[in-house]
């Protein structure tokens, strides 16, 4: 029993060491802020620890844990009734600052997306998953991924143009 536990812990450490950075960045895009992202990854990895036998037996452990992360994000959103979503990004003065301000704009636009659209956009365009991989991670159909990603993208574009940005990234 003790040996099994030691093996589990060792494998978990190795996996966490390689996956932490990527998971944290994905979570950051989903949660919209650092502390929320860390909490999200913490919860997801704790769940992964509980189901470690399934994680290690999975064809792609990273995909398995990513799916836990997405589920955790969805579950958290369902609990958080206080989060207020808007259809359109609120009007704001044209930004004048350098890149960090543009990042704030993008992060705010991303946070304004409904959670499923946010997940679809992040998985498709940051994680660079295919539509079928995204569907597997979100536990939905490819059609849902297409529609959610397209709507999310359209809203980001709308937010971009409303804020007077040629691109959200701004000057380079």
């Amino acid at each position: 029993m003790g040996a099994q536990k030691a093996v589990r812990d060792e494998e978990f450490r190795a996996f966490t060491g390689s996956a932490w950075s990527r998971l944290l960045r994905t979570a950051y895009l989903l949660a919209g802020e650092r502390h929320g992202a860390e909490d999200l990854v913490q919860q997801a990895l704790e769940r992964a620890y509980v189901h470690w036998n399934k994680v290690r037996a999975a064809d792609d452990p990273n995909a398995y844990v990513r799916r836990i992360l997405i589920n955790e994000h969805a579950r958290r959103f369902r609990r958080r009734q206080v989060e207020h979503l808007v259809d359109a990004f609120p009007d704001r003065p044209a930004p004048t600052g350098p890149d960090p301000d543009d990042r704030t704009v993008l992060l705010a636009a991303l946070a304004a997306l409904p959670p499923r659209q946010r997940e679809a956009v992040v998985l498709r365009y940051w994680e660079d998953l295919s539509e079928s991989q995204t569907a597997a991670a979100m536990d939905c159909s490819v059609g849902t991924v297409k529609s959610q990603a397209a709507r999310g993208l359209a809203k980001l574009r709308e937010a971009s143009s409303r804020n007077g940005l040629t691109s959200i990234g701004g000057s380079r």
């Binding site: 812990d9 978990f12 450490r13 966490t16 060491g17 932490w20 950075s21 944290l24 960045r25 994905t26 950051y28 895009l29 650092r34 992202a37 913490q42 990895l45 704790e46 769940r47 620890y49 509980v50 969805a74 369902r78 609990r79 009734q81 044209a94 930004p95 543009d102 990042r103 993008l106 992060l107 991303l110 499923r116 956009v121 992040v122 498709r124 365009y125 940051w126 660079d128 979100m138 536990d139 939905c140 159909s141 490819v142 059609g143 849902t144 959610q148 993208l153 980001l156 574009r157 971009s160 143009s161 007077g164 940005l165 040629t166 691109s167 959200i168 990234g169 701004g170 000057s171 380079r172």
Partner: protein, 330 residues
């Protein structure tokens, strides 16, 4: 803001209007690049190994304790049901005998007694392979009642939805030979078609699982089931936020022809850990909602106290706090 071109090979997408105003491919490339920039701005820092391990171990311990508790509860429930059969309740051919409140007469299954016939969450969802789980059981008039759910995962296409509907109908028809064929919506006049929009047995929705709720009496499935549409995990159900399903009473399973006792099956949200039904006529019974596969819905079932209506149901969260109190129509 600059309108300079994008870095690297994205530069061609920019043009005078900029990438966000260009075609869809350019927009995808642009947002991909921007998200990468944003994500890379996060300093990952050192991995909090010990914190993660501590949290994981804590969860593991809690899970093992809960499993042990559920098994113990299931054993207690089986013993309790036997005692009631022997000492009270309804006897075959006899008149009703008063049953003390919360005696286990109207009994529901604890999660551990659910017996899925297919793999639960974590496996691929097959719209043609239902997951069956017993969500409650009890004894009345000397007959063993069981409420079952056959959850058919959402069909991704209209064609698969029709095929799934056909299979559900075949299964129901095998139990009830008088069951009429499901109508084809397009073959009906518009007013009737409108009514069908509320019939989940007929209308396909890619974001909804179909749940066939049925009663098994003395080991035999009874006619008079009910097909419901419930949100599929990860699906979108416009106009029906998650909290709208909480505490909705779904159906009452009755077989009047056989003078079958009644059982009530209720769908609740995942936040409901326990319910208590206070019968207006006196007495109470508690029930633990049961999950089916990876569905976000839970179900509980109770044997209805004859003649009682307008009862009260109190829903509890896992930590024991009262979520809501509702009056029932049953």
């Amino acid at each position: 803001m600059s309108t300079e071109s994008w870095p690297g090979d994205l530069g061609d997408f920019g043009g005078p209007r900029g990438p966000w105003n260009g075609d869809a491919e350019a927009a995808e490339a642009a947002v991909s690049w921007e998200l990468g920039e944003l994500a890379d701005s996060v300093e990952a820092g050192p991995v909090p190994y010990e914190r993660l391990l501590d949290g994981g171990r804590r969860r593991l311990r809690r899970r093992r304790l809960l499993t042990a508790a559920a098994v113990a509860m299931a054993v207690a429930l089986v013993g309790g049901a036997g005692a009631v059969t022997a000492g009270g309740g309804y006897r075959p051919g006899g008149s009703p005998v008063a049953v003390p409140p919360a005696s286990g007469f109207s009994l529901t299954a604890a999660p551990a007694t659910g017996t899925p016939s297919a793999a639960p969450s974590g496996t691929a969802r097959d719209p043609f392979t239902p997951i069956r789980v017993k969500v409650g059981e009890g004894i009345s008039k000397g007959r063993a009642l069981e409420a079952w759910i056959a959850l058919w995962p959402a069909a991704p296409t209209a064609e698969a939805g029709r095929e799934q509907g056909r299979r559900i109908w075949e299964e129901r028809h095998a139990v009830d030979p008088h069951l009429p064929p499901d109508p084809e919506p397009s073959a009906l006049p518009t007013p009737q078609r409108g009514v069908l929009l509320h019939n989940p047995a007929v209308v396909w929705d890619p974001h909804k699982d179909r749940a066939d709720i049925y009663l098994v009496v003395d080991g035999k499935r009874e006619p008079g089931d009910y097909v419901d549409a419930v949100p599929a995990p990860g699906g979108t159900t416009p106009g029906e936020p998650d909290d709208a399903i909480n505490g909705v009473l779904l159906t009452r399973l009755v077989n009047p022809a056989a003078s079958s006792p009644e059982m009530v099956v209720v769908r609740v949200g995942p936040e409901v850990a326990k319910v208590e039904v206070d019968w207006k006529a006196g007495g109470a019974v508690s029930a633990v909602p049961v999950g089916v596969g990876d569905s976000t819905s839970r179900w509980y079932a109770v044997v209805r106290t004859p003649g009682a209506m307008d009862n009260t149901v109190i829903s509890f969260a896992e930590d024991g706090t009262v979520l809501r109190t509702q009056n029932t129509w049953w």
